[in-house]
Assembly symmetry: C2
Amino acid sequence: MTIQLYDLCGASKDLRFSPACWRTRMALEHKGLNYETVPTMFTDIPSIAGGGQRTVPVIEDGEQIVRESYDIAVYLERTYPDKPSLFDGEGGLQLSRFMHWWTGATVDAGIVKLVLADIHSILDQADQSYFRESREKRFGKALEEVQNQSDETLQAFRASLLPLRLALKKHDFLGGDAPIYADYCVFGSFQWARMVSDLTLLEGDDPVAQWFERCLDLFDGLGRKAKG
Amino acid sequence: MTIQLYDLCGASKDLRFSPACWRTRMALEHKGLNYETVPTMFTDIPSIAGGGQRTVPVIEDGEQIVRESYDIAVYLERTYPDKPSLFDGEGGLQLSRFMHWWTGATVDAGIVKLVLADIHSILDQADQSYFRESREKRFGKALEEVQNQSDETLQAFRASLLPLRLALKKHDFLGGDAPIYADYCVFGSFQWARMVSDLTLLEGDDPVAQWFERCLDLFDGLGRKAKG
């Protein structure tokens, strides 16, 4: 059985940039499961997987439809317990919930202000209209006013990563010697920025940057190869 | 064998307020180990456990001397694998390292600005001199200038807890249905504030406040009873 992953794409179907979809893709790789990605635009989402979806990732695993990146990871762990563990135990599964929310509230919230207009620029025309309208409503101003790549904004973003930096200072991954789902969770956000923008988010000697490079090398360089 | 925990105290030896010492104490309780606390003032630290210590907690377990709250938790887990697990697996142990740093960089860093002068007020006279000198050097201003309990500071602190709030919204503990070390790690910080100050840190309907109340009830109300 091949799992279908509905994976957000840009105007180019090969441009896969959603942080949450990257989490799921890395989780599928880690589990060593057969899967294929279905390129999906924002405006396709309501019609995928039988309809009624509002966000991606969504996976179809036979009859099962599962959505939300953390819930998908838990589903994969429970459904395929004999495959390599995403969490290394129940404590890891529970704390990955915190990691999910920390990533959203800190990393994603920081990155979105740095690249919001860049995201718009890689979308298909229909998606561009949807994206501009929905995001300008959410932020209360134009995409180009939200996006701020000033040195001050970058410094504040880098400072917000302090706990990640300290946790990675003496370890290759959040999982220790090897990556676990928490690594993929945070990786997705940096990969998102990398896929849509040429902005240098991190300084080269930052342990976070070095960890991200290690993540780009995983699974035969899957993340690295995704950007030509 | 009874483990000795060197536990920071105020002018009253019964007033135990160190966030890191509370982490260790809750971990010892969780493990169900025999231990006793040794009330220790800041100015006692250099002479405890054979000398050369700079911070507490320090534990003595027979010949073993272990320091630093996270390292102590890992030591207890590895040394007493048959006792209830603090991490529920290796993934939990690894992600607790991130939780440790997140707590320090976010929760402790926020609380210290709210209660720094309150901490001073509960110390013994010799400790007061040490504390004022070392902390005023660290912050570059008077304790009373650092401490700011304005509504704006409180709101910013509460906002910084968003990932914790979201992770606890549908779960009793960071560990899920039952507490694990990550809960004790964050608990220690809120207990620190509670022990030294009457400031209301959290609004009553905040899931974080409700989780903290559950933590105060653990181990026959150990944390709650610590403050008369």
